[in-house]
Structure formats: structure tokens, C-alpha cells
Symmetry: C2
Subunit: 258 residues, 2 copies
């Protein structure tokens, strides 16, 4: 119940984890991070200790390594965790990027996008767990169930596929917003004008059993006339023109398979 | 103030317009539509008349032709509107698709996605107006300001560009949700798992001045390692693989211009 938890890292995921643990009534023992400014700020927010030197790492039952995917191996390799459970929070890398000398390796991956300055409620966020020992399984599950109503066991291979899906629905959807912004800018209006549409499109998909059921527009209707006009309008933007053609084609093919 | 309004059509836009007018205390005089079932249902919802034969078209000050973009010309061509103002609601076609015999042609375009069974509050939705006579301008503006807090004058050329932007932020973002669904399905999990991420991605962009500021992921970081792994995972899905490469490239190029 009262595991001692240390958060390693001071980025957006580290902050979200530390804040969620604090709100759940079990603040971390320590924020351990190179960056004293961002690490110290999270520690103050959670009323816990901060440290930045390997020798100062606090004893704990669970270390959550919340650093960028490519930094997990290096950061974890430089610290001594004793017999504790060590979980990384990365979607795209396997549990085995944690050094083999760690006795209880695990993964604690929140399927969400975290940004500076935005507080995210973890309760509805899926937490995807993996662990190689019984001790690891018990520890990460106990902590995860305190933070989220959606806890799943997902191995590294499935997790990397889910992470790829997240790139499509989050990073790539956001790029579509950017493309829209550049097009309305040419019509002399600001991105603001697209916001009610962005909100409703997401709300509609989330209310549906499948986004295929909420697909609208010229592509799913196979409206040649409108599509040809759009391609013509994008003639001087070859990147957007190619995307327009490819995505429209994919929408049409996906709709035929329904 | 008390214009008599007839809605022509019985699709999602027609229904949204009729309901919004009713909620504003000025229900339409009549729903005029071929389809007696859907047209009659809207009329009952709004406590107004329904008609489906050209000879039964009620006299009005404003006719709103809320039919699909490619049907505007044909539907409007078959009716006699007298001296009234006639506005279509289509984003992708010009005001001039309305027959030239109409004395007061106009456009009344709501920048939103409408679906059966979803009630949309029009208040925050941009209504984009165009009119070729003073009478037309006064009429559509008076009605629009009653329904929306965001009323803009936009000519046909700018409107078609904004409509194209809407295709990107709505139809294409929704396709990204579909692509994500197909990828998580292969990992044995349902689309539900992506919903908190979809909601937060849209909320974050809407809270920002520009979606470029909320772009995250391997593409904007130019994380070669993760991108190479993702492309490898998409080898047997050439459509998604090509999209992945092209969108990632566009994200990187867009970020460099900031």
C-alpha cells in the first residue's frame, strides 16, 4: 500500500506522474533529475525531496523512469536501484532497454499526450503495464490502480503497436490541424475559426463505436467534383496535394471494407 | 426581426438549422423536402409545417437551401422563390450555383460537421455569409446573428479555401482516428483505448494559439530510431507506411519554419 516511489526525470510525463501520485495521497519520496530547475519545481509542487546526483538517489520500492524513450537505457544504467522495481514509461521501447542487472524490470506506460502547463487527469488514461517478476507485477499494478480506472497488461510488442496508433491519432491529427491553419491563414482568418470543428470532430469520434462511422466529407462520398477542385487549389502545395490525394484514397478504400 | 424562413432539405444541416431557429424563438415556417419521412420528422421537432411538392412551397422572406453541395443548383432550379432571399449552406460551391433568376442570392455556411443524432450548439459555430444585394445582406445577417456569436462575411473563393481547411482538420483527422483503430485492433484492444488521447489532443490544440505549438512525437523531434521502427512495423501496410513517411516529413519541415 505505502510503496516508496521515486520519479526519475523532470519532463511532462514525470510531472504528470508525480502530481497524480500526490493527488492520490501517496506523493513520491523524491524527484530525481539532472535538471535542478524543472526537477525542483515538481518536487515543490508535490512537497517531496529533489536530488540530482546518483549518490543521493533515495531508497524506494518503485522507481519510475519517466525520461524520453531514447534516454531510458542510459539514465537507468547510471543508477543503482538495489532490489527495487524499476519501470520505464516509454511507449516505443521494450522493457529490455532497462539494464539486465535490474532485478525487477517493468513498464508503466500512460497512453496520453502530456505538455507543460496542462494538467491531465490520469483517471481515464489507460496505463499499460508489463513486468518480468511477481514482485514487479504486484508493485506496478498496485500503483497503477490507484491512479487510473483503465489498467491493462500489454507486452512490449503490443505496446509498440499501440504507440504507433497513438502517433496517428495524436501527432498526425495535430498535423492536420496545422495544415488547416495554413489554409485558413491564406483566406485571411485565424486558426480560431477551426476550433469548434476540431472539438466536435473529436467529440463525435469519441462518442462512436468506431471512427469509420463518423467519417464525412468528399472522400467518403467519392465526390469527384469537390475532390478535383480541392486538388486544383493545392497545386502550388505539392506536399499537401499529395497528402490530400493519398488520404482521400485511403478513406474511400476503408469505407468500402465496412 | 420576424422574417419568415423556409428550410429546404432534410439532412443533418437542415435539421441543425431548423432546430437552432426554433431554439432561438423563431421556428421556420416550413420544412420543404422530397423525403417526407426525414422532412416530416424535422417539422414535428420544430412544430412547423412540412411540404414536399413544389406547388406547396410556403411564401417566405428567406429560403435556406440546406442540401448537399452538388444538389444545390438542381434543387433551387426547380422552385419559385419570388423576390425572397435564397441562401445555400454549402462550403465548396460558389454563390453563383444558385440560378441567376433568383433575385437575392446568398450563402449561409456553418463551419461545422453535422451528424444524425448529435445536437450541435450553433452559438460558437462560425457562420460564413455572402450576399449579392443589400436586402440579402440584411436578411442573412439578421438571422445569423440570432444563431451564432461568430458571424463573418466571406466570399465564395475564400469560403472554398476554408472548406478545404475543414476537410483537413475534420475528415482527415477522423481518418487518422480510423488508422489508429486498425493498428490497436491488431494489438487486440478496442478503439476505446485511444479516446482519452483523441480528446486531449484536440483540447490541447484548441487551447493553443497555433497547433504548431502543440505538435509532439517522433516526427517533430526528428527521432530517426523510432521513425525507422514505425516504418518497419508498417511494411505490410503500404498505404499507412507512405502516409507515415509523408506526414512525418511534413511535420519536420513545418517545425523548421517556426
Amino acid at each position: 500500500m505505502a510503496e516508496r516511489i521515486v520519479i526519475v526525470g523532470s519532463g511532462n510525463v514525470a510531472e504528470a506522474m508525480a502530481v497524480a501520485l500526490t493527488q492520490a495521497g501517496t506523493p513520491p519520496e523524491q524527484i530525481f533529475a539532472r535538471n535542478a530547475e524543472t526537477g525542483g519545481a515538481i518536487a515543490r509542487k508535490c512537497g517531496c525531496a529533489y536530488a540530482g546526483e546518483a549518490a543521493q538517489l533515495a531508497p524506494a520500492d518503485l522507481y519510475i523512469i519517466a525520461v524520453s524513450d531514447n534516454a531510458v537505457a542510459k539514465v537507468a544504467g547510471g543508477l543503482d536501484f538495489g532490489d527495487a522495481v524499476v519501470a520505464h514509461t516509454a511507449g516505443s521501447v521494450g522493457m529490455d532497454v532497462l539494464p539486465a542487472k535490474i532485478k525487477n524490470r517493468a513498464v508503466f506506460y500512460p497512453l496520453q499526450t502530456f505538455s507543460k502547463g496542462r494538467t491531465v487527469d490520469l483517471k481515464p488514461v489507460p496505463l499499460m503495464l508489463e513486468a518480468e517478476t511477481a514482485k514487479g507485477r504486484e508493485t506496478v499494478e498496485s500503483v497503477a490502480m490507484r491512479l487510473s480506472d483503465s489498467v491493462l497488461w500489454v507486452d512490449s510488442q503490443r505496446r509498440s503497436r499501440i504507440h504507433l496508433a497513438a502517433v496517428f491519432v495524436s501527432n498526425f491529427a495535430n498535423y492536420m490541424y496545422s495544415a488547416g491553419e495554413s489554409l485558413v491563414a491564406e483566406a485571411g482568418v485565424s486558426f480560431d475559426i477551426l476550433k469548434p470543428l476540431i472539438t466536435e470532430t473529436a467529440a463525435k469520434a469519441v462518442a462512436a463505436a468506431s471512427p469509420k462511422l463518423t467519417q464525412t466529407g468528399p472522400a467518403v462520398r467519392n465526390d469527384f467534383q469537390t475532390k478535383a477542385m480541392h486538388v486544383e487549389m493545392l497545386m502550388e502545395k505539392p506536399n499537401l496535394k499529395n497528402l490530400y490525394i493519398n488520404i482521400s484514397q485511403n478513406i474511400w478504400e476503408t469505407s468500402k471494407k465496412m
